[in-house]
Structure formats: structure tokens, C-alpha cells
């Protein structure tokens, strides 16, 4: 079993690290405070190829493997989880969804600009009354013969405003229940699409989150991804990969918090010595390190399974659930280790803690992940 990264994977990891440390770090606190979208940084990410990392070069993507993606997501999330969520949604949900299940025309039209990062993608599944319980979609995509008529509301949509390409999950045949759901590519600027106000969130505030309302939006039939009624399966399959992205994001929040805590412990003095020399602190750091190592191994295994064409849905659920939960624990502990300094924005760790909370909730709550895992165990 080879646990070593290739030279190329290490190069990609370093590129992500350099980008995060040199560019994102400077204004991350300010952007979080002002809930300011990272326009300049998303442009740089596009130029560096981070927005379509795993898309085939045939469609203007980076052609890199999922392990490189995990490493990059981790490095970027150590500094800026808002940028990494924009990156994760674009890569894992939207680009992957179109590349894996779309027609050649759809790939040419939609995938290429998304892979280049010229356009940003958003994934619209959650509704005001359907979060964890995604089978009860109320958004309707009525089959009008030559087009779909879209009506309904979607909630908590990452990049709702900055995106141009939406993948909307909607119900076409209610009598078929979840087998009557479709995934449809919608241009955000279509008439009838309107956005709710910008959500004032606890964390990941630099990423824009809105509700999206559809009022008689006409969408061409050829924008449907896959066969009629494939939408739910599409969503579930795509979310499997999305879990790897968010798990890596949670991993980055945790490992970033640990790096800062280690540095702080080496400098801060209390009771006559640096706090790293007090066993209580040293043991906290050790516990954090073990959790992170486990989370990382889960992320990398899920990535490896995906890269090697093996089923990865269960391991990715484990990775997402575990990484998110330990991210919450580790970032909270990081704030504790920093003491008063951990409570103020300047020292970053309070932001990491606020951001970690969301990783336990979105793209499938930790509880939903446990449903996935236990169902598989108890088959």
C-alpha cells in the first residue's frame, strides 16, 4: 500500500498553499467581516485552474485527480473556507455533474466556461420545506412539450448571485415521486428568476448565499441532464463526490486551526514557560492531530476509490461526517488554546470555528451521512 503522494500531487498542493497564503490570507478577515465576495481571488483561482481541476482537458479542465483536489481544498480551506466552498460547488457538484451525466452539447455549452472559471456554477436542491428530506421536492418543472416551465423556491444556495449556470433539481412527474424528479441546467439570467436577499450567515460570509425564486421560467428541453426522471439519482450521485469536497474543506479548517494552535503554543508563555510545555496543552494538540490524521485518511481513501472507478459513496459519507464533526471539535479547541486571543477576529481561529459549524450541516448533515452509512451496514 503506497501512502506517498506523487511529485505532481505535491506540486499541486504547494501551488494551492502558496495561493492561499500569499493571496487569500491578506484580506480574508476583512472580507468575512464585510461579507464581501472574493471576485479577484475567484479570478485567480480560475487562472490557476482550481475551478475545474478534475474536468478533462478536452473540456478546458485541469485533468487532475481527486487526491490533488483533496490536497488543494485542504490548503485553501486552512485560510479561506468561503473561497473553498465556491471552488467545491463548482468542481464537485456542477462540473462533475455535467461531465459525468451530460450530453456532448451540454458539455460544450456549459461545462467549458465552468471549467475555465469564466462562469461559476450553483447547485439548487434545498428548499424551504425540503432540506435533509430531499425526496419531497416542491419546485416544479412542468413538461410543456418543447420546454420545461419552472416554478418554485430554492433555499441556501451557495453562489446564487455570482453564478451564471444553475443545476436545478425539480419535480416533473409528482405521481412518480422521487423517480419523477429532473436535474435541469438553467441560465441564472433567464426571465422569471429572482433572488432573495443575501443571507447574513454565521460563517463563510464571503461566499454569497441566497434563496432563488422561479416564476414561470422557460427552460429548453435539451437542458435536462440525463433521462426523464433521472434527477434524484443524479443529485444523490453528484452529492457523493460533493462530500469529498466538503470533507476536505472541513479537514482544512481543522488542520489550519491546528497549525495556528501549535504556533501559538510555542510562543505564548504562562506559569513560567511556553504553554506547549504544559501537558494539558500538549495533549490537546495531540488529540487534535490524531483526529485530523483520521479525517485526512478518510478523505484520501474516498478520493482514491473515486479515481480508481470503485464505489465511494459510503467512504465519502464517512469522510464528510467525520471530518465535519472533528473540524467543529478541533476549531473549538483551537479557540480555547488561544484563550482571549482566540475570541477576537485578528487571530483567525474564531472564524474557523464559525465556518466549521456549516460543514456539519450542508451537503448532507452529519445525521444524514449516518443514515447513508447505517443503511449500508444494515442491508
Amino acid at each position: 500500500m503506497n501512502f506517498e503522494f506523487t511529485e505532481e500531487q505535491l506540486m499541486i498542493q504547494q501551488a494551492a498553499r502558496d495561493f492561499a497564503q500569499r493571496e487569500l490570507l491578506d484580506d480574508v478577515i476583512e472580507r468575512d467581516h464585510n461579507a464581501e465576495f472574493p471576485t479577484k481571488h475567484v479570478k485567480t483561482m480560475s487562472e490557476l485552474g482550481f475551478m475545474g481541476m478534475m474536468v478533462s482537458p478536452e473540456y478546458d479542465g485541469g485533468g487532475m485527480d481527486t487526491i490533488s483536489y483533496v490536497l488543494s481544498m485542504e490548503e485553501i480551506s486552512k485560510v479561506d473556507a468561503s473561497c473553498s466552498v465556491i471552488m467545491s460547488v463548482n468542481n464537485s457538484l456542477v462540473c462533475y455533474g455535467i461531465e459525468k451525466f451530460g450530453t456532448e452539447e451540454q458539455k460544450q455549452k456549459f461545462l467549458r466556461p465552468l471549467a475555465r472559471g469564466e462562469k461559476i456554477g450553483a447547485f439548487l436542491l434545498s428548499e424551504p420545506e425540503a432540506g435533509s428530506d430531499a425526496t419531497h421536492q416542491k419546485t416544479m418543472a412542468e413538461d410543456m412539450g418543447d420546454h420545461y416551465l419552472l416554478n418554485g423556491t430554492k433555499n441556501w444556495i451557495t453562489s446564487a448571485n455570482s453564478a451564471s449556470t444553475y443545476i436545478v433539481i425539480a419535480q416533473t412527474h409528482p405521481e412518480l415521486k422521487h423517480k419523477g424528479i429532473n436535474a435541469i441546467l438553467v441560465d441564472k439570467n433567464s426571465p422569471g428568476v429572482s433572488l432573495g436577499p443575501h443571507e447574513d450567515k454565521m460563517g463563510m460570509r464571503s461566499s454569497d448565499t441566497h434563496s432563488v425564486m422561479f416564476t414561470d421560467v422557460k427552460v429548453p428541453k435539451e437542458n435536462r441532464i440525463g433521462e426523464d426522471g433521472f434527477g434524484f439519482k443524479f443529485a444523490m450521485k453528484t452529492l457523493e463526490g460533493g462530500r469529498i469536497g466538503i470533507a476536505s474543506q472541513a479537514l482544512g479548517l481543522a488542520s489550519g486551526a491546528l497549525e495556528r494552535s501549535v504556533q501559538y503554543s510555542k510562543e505564548r508563555k504562562a506559569f513560567g514557560t511556553e504553554i506547549m510545555n504544559h501537558q494539558v496543552i500538549a495533549f490537546k494538540l495531540a488529540d487534535m492531530a490524531v483526529k485530523i490524521e483520521n479525517a485526512r485518511n478518510l478523505c484520501l481513501k474516498a478520493a482514491w476509490l473515486k479515481d480508481n472507478g470503485k464505489p465511494y459513496g459510503i467512504v465519502s459519507a464517512m469522510a464528510k461526517q467525520y471530518a465535519a464533526d472533528i473540524a467543529m471539535e478541533v476549531t473549538t479547541e483551537a479557540v480555547q488554546i488561544h484563550g482571549g486571543y482566540g475570541y477576537v477576529k485578528e487571530y483567525h481561529v474564531e472564524r474557523l470555528m464559525r465556518e466549521a459549524k456549516l460543514t456539519q450541516i450542508y451537503e448532507g448533515t452529519s445525521e444524514v451521512q449516518k443514515i447513508v452509512i447505517s443503511r449500508d451496514l444494515l442491508r
Partner: protein, 249 residues
């Protein structure tokens, strides 16, 4: 125009410096190797120029004197935008040795502009670039803080005490570059990393050259005395200490 950039492989700047073998050798255990920061800036500038004037710059080559473990950093240089890499298979004995090896590469191929960082962050020799120019009998311009190509004309800004000179010069020339030559080292894009897979990295054997110098020992600096702290509301005391105790002004 063919450009050659001389790259040196150095320990990452956050590496803890330690010595082994009774303080005669640098401890390479666990060290992360990177491209010498000044060389990386030189490479970035060359890539920027090629992007701006693709017709003007035929290709960019990077060369290093090093063993196989230096190939990772060479491939990064290819990912950043160099077209080809040459590794001279030898340990970098001293600056004269390194410059002599690089001279053979230049003589074999012929380059119009050779760029070298003004020093390397490990031995701070400040020597390889200029030594190379003398070995080749090429003109050299040192302390170069800007490199432009203006309608085919090579223009360097050379830093002097209290200012800078702007020089027009013709190839072949060696430029020893420093801060300012590029704003920030280029981060390789996914596209570049993929293209690096198929770019040539040639290994050549060294020529026999004796080093002129050798390191016979190292030592860490003595521990610093603790900082004398003065209260914020007693600034006058600090001034007194500086004037009477340290006699600093």
C-alpha cells in the same frame, strides 16, 4: 532570443538550520527543497516576457547543478513556464564549480540572455552568476532590478548606491538579478503542471573541475541576550538607555 535561468535548489526558508557530522554538514533530514527565491523571480520575469512577446522569446531553459533529488524543483520550473530543463548530475561543491558546469551548458547551446539570482538563500555566495559571465567572457550586469525587451532591445535597470541606471545592452549577456525583477514568484497553474509532464528534462554529466573553496565547519549564532523591556509610559527611560547605556546615539 533564448533565455537560460540558473536555478539553485535550497532549503525552504522556514527550515530550522541544524548541522551534523560534528558541525561539518547541513542536516538535510526532513528538509523541504524549493527553488532559490531570487532564481524563482528571474524565472517568473522570463515567463512574463515570453507571454508578452511570444515572437521575441524563442524558448526558456532552466539549468541546475544537482543530484536526482533536485528534479522535483526543476519540474516546478517547467510547470511555471520554462520550456526545458537541464540537470548537471553533480553535487554543488562551490560557486566556482557550479559556474564551471553551467558554462559548459551555455557553450554547448548558446543563449542570448543568462539570468541568475544575485545570491542563494543557503550559502549567500553572490558568486555563481558573475563567475559564469567571466568563464564565458560575456558582459555581465549585476544588481538588476528590471528586465525589459523594448522592440528587440534588451534593457536592464541596474541598482547603484542611491538610485538606478537604465542600460541598453546587446546579447549575449549575463544578468544577475535581485528584488524587483518580478513582483511575486509565479504559482504554477494546473495547465502548466500538466504540460510539464511532457517537457524535456535532460541530464548531463559534469566536467572535471576542482572547487576553489570548501566549508570546513559551521556554527549556530550565540544565544541572544533577552530584550530589555521598558514600560509604555516611560519612553524617556528608553531614550536614556539608548543614549547612556548602549551609546547608540
Amino acid at each position: 532570443m533564448k533565455i537560460l535561468i540558473c536555478l539553485s535548489n535550497v532549503p525552504d526558508t522556514t527550515t530550522k538550520i541544524r548541522f551534523v557530522d560534528e558541525n561539518t554538514k547541513f542536516d538535510t533530514n526532513g528538509v523541504q527543497w524549493i527553488i532559490n527565491p531570487w532564481d524563482e523571480l528571474a524565472l517568473t520575469r522570463a515567463v512574463e516576457l515570453k507571454e508578452k512577446n511570444p515572437a521575441e522569446i524563442e524558448n526558456i531553459t532552466v539549468a541546475t547543478v544537482g543530484l536526482q533529488d533536485s528534479e522535483a524543483t526543476m519540474r516546478k520550473a517547467l510547470a511555471v513556464g520554462a520550456d526545458r530543463a537541464i540537470r548537471i548530475n553533480a553535487e554543488a561543491k562551490d560557486a566556482y564549480f557550479v559556474a564551471s558546469q553551467l558554462a559548459e551548458v551555455v557553450k554547448a547551446e548558446g543563449f542570448d540572455v543568462v539570468l541568475a539570482g544575485i545570491e542563494s538563500s543557503d550559502y549567500n555566495g553572490n558568486a555563481v552568476g558573475s563567475m559564469l559571465s567571466e568563464l564565458l567572457d560575456y558582459p555581465s550586469v549585476s544588481s538588476v532590478s528590471k528586465f525589459e525587451i523594448d522592440g528587440g532591445q534588451i534593457v536592464f535597470n541596474r541598482e547603484i548606491d542611491g538610485g538606478s541606471e537604465v542600460l541598453n545592452i546587446s546579447a549575449p549577456v549575463v544578468a544577475i538579478v535581485q528584488k524587483g525583477i518580478a513582483l511575486e514568484p509565479r504559482i504554477p497553474a494546473m495547465r502548466g503542471i500538466m504540460m510539464a509532464r511532457s517537457k524535456p528534462l535532460n541530464v548531463v554529466e559534469p566536467v572535471a573541475v576542482d572547487a576553489l573553496t570548501e566549508h570546513v565547519g559551521f556554527e549556530l549564532p550565540p544565544a541572544k541576550a533577552a530584550c530589555k523591556m521598558v514600560a509604555e509610559d516611560n519612553v524617556a527611560e528608553l531614550v536614556r538607555l539608548l543614549h547612556e547605556e548602549a551609546k547608540a546615539f
